[in-house]
């Protein structure tokens, strides 16, 4: 389990990283904290010709809170975000979900943007981005664009990022309303069997579910009473297309979606 050979570039300016991506496209990969990519390299599921390390670019290591949005740069480690003093006030859902993201020993190096770039269907940060309706800030040598979370995730570990683009930052709308998060995993910090996030939206609640479909799924629920909410959650659970695997059966996953979903929706609508 050793990576295949690659060139390693330590970018000193963002333009250098963008230029390498422009020239080498899909043969080059950005490495930030490496806590997802290194495992892929070790298992040779990824075999880039060039790795571009962006962790020494101070302009990417910033967290900004302005105009109702929290923007997290590509070099911000998960541990730094978790320790950001404004997190609990401004981005409560991330404060609830981050302790479930890997372990202290991986959050110390892994970045928030890296987890979103990796787009693992059971990962917490893509789920939070979807639940809050955040945006991914993409940049190439030619252009900058912002993509809404719902248009960014394209399937299991697949996104709509072009080969010459890197994620410069992600932004989350600041929390205005009540939110809740819960996850079931075999061991705290392991991949979620089911992870759910709920956010109050006007009179109803939005529920986001990870670990079941091939990307985080979002559904808005109006304020429903007892049986009607259970029926709506049951339909949602079936529509996610859960599959049996070594970790859990599809039926168990649907059960978790129904039970956790009901608890969280009730919690945010209280």
């Amino acid at each position: 389990m050793k990576p295949a050979a690659f060139d390693y570039i330590r970018a000193e300016h963002l333009d250098e990283a963008l230029e390498v991506l422009r020239r080498e496209g899909s043969e080059a990969r950005i490495i930030a904290g490496g806590q997802s990519l290194m495992a892929m390299l070790n298992m040779r599921l990824a075999k880039p010709k060039t790795l571009i390390d962006i962790m020494r670019l101070p302009e990417l290591a910033r967290i900004e809170n302005s105009r109702g949005a929290i923007t997290v740069g590509a070099a911000v480690r998960q541990a730094s975000l978790l320790q950001w003093p404004e997190l609990g006030r401004s981005l409560q859902l991330a404060a609830l979900a981050l302790p479930w993201t890997g372990h202290a020993q991986t959050r110390s190096r892994g970045t928030a943007c890296g987890s979103i770039a990796h787009a693992d269907p059971s990962a917490e940060l893509p789920l939070v981005l979807q639940a809050l309706g955040g945006e991914v800030h993409l940049r190439s040598a030619k252009r900058r664009r912002r993509v809404a979370a719902r248009d960014f995730f394209a399937g299991m570990m697949a996104t709509t990022r072009a080969d010459d683009e890197l994620i410069e930052a992600v932004s989350f709308p600041a929390d205005r309303d009540r939110c809740a998060f819960r996850e079931v995993a075999r061991r705290h910090g392991d991949f979620a069997i089911v992870a759910c996030a709920a956010v109050k939206t006007g009179d109803g609640a939005r529920l986001a579910v990870g670990g079941v479909a091939d990307m985080p799924a979002v559904r808005d629920f109006p304020r429903l009473e007892g049986g009607a909410l259970d029926d709506a959650l049951n339909r949602f659970a079936y529509e996610l297309g859960a599959r049996d695997d070594v970790h859990a059966t599809a039926r168990y996953r649907r059960d978790l979606v129904r039970m956790i979903g009901r608890d969280l929706v009730r919690e945010v609508l209280q």
Binding site: M1, K2, P3, A4, A5, F6, D7, Y8, I9, R10, A11, E12, H13, E16, I31, G34, Q35, M38, A39, L41, N42, M43, K49, L51, D53, M55, A79, P99, G102, H103, A104, Q105, T106, S108, R109, R187, H188, G189, D190
Partner: protein, 173 residues
């Protein structure tokens, strides 16, 4: 911008347990293999090589990190601490190591170096930890021998002793 060519060895300068250190590594070399084969520091163990088991955990700039998910090239200029840095001198155990020995917090010992380094970083930041905090930290490590209970006991005992050490007060704990 520096491009380190594949297949060629490049120098990596870092600090290892407080001492300046330099070694050579190809870009693809993992920090685990760099420490063990290039530097000769074989205290860091290699387990799963995909970040799950925690056996290779070392301290990087004061934070616990998986050496198997880190390239040697990435630690250029960093401060690395490994289990070799815990003992005050040859033949003597550090406080944390002695607590592990007293409490039988290891049997086969394969996971121990990684757990010690996680706890070493953690106890510096949290000198008065509770059991829940230690168990949360240990969720990043697999130990198939002990059932974790003696590890938690050793960590709590070492924390008391280290806190006394830091404040300069004597303690019989």
């Amino acid at each position: 911008m520096s491009r380190l060519q594949a297949g060629q060895r490049h120098s990596v300068r870092f600090s290892l347990n407080g001492k300046p250190c330099v070694g050579e590594a190809e870009p693809r070399l993992l920090l685990t293999d760099f420490l063990r084969h290039e530097i000769g520091a074989t205290g860091t163990h290699v387990g799963c090589e995909h970040g799950v088991c925690g056996a290779c955990t070392v301290g990087i700039d004061g934070q616990p990190a998986r050496a198997c998910l880190t390239l040697a090239a990435q630690i250029d200029g960093c401060e690395v601490r490994t289990v070799e840095g815990l003992a005050p001198s040859a033949g003597r155990l550090g406080i944390l190591q002695a607590a592990f020995r007293r409490n039988h917090a290891l049997q086969c010992g394969f996971c121990t170096a990684g757990i010690l380094m996680s706890l070493d970083c953690f106890l510096r930041q949290h000198p008065r930890p509770d059991e829940a905090g230690i168990r949360d930290l240990l969720s990043g490590h697999l130990c198939r021998c002990t059932g974790y209970t003696p590890i938690v006991r050793a960590a709590l005992e070492a924390a008391v002793e280290l806190a006394g050490d830091l404040s300069g007060t004597k303690s019989d704990a």
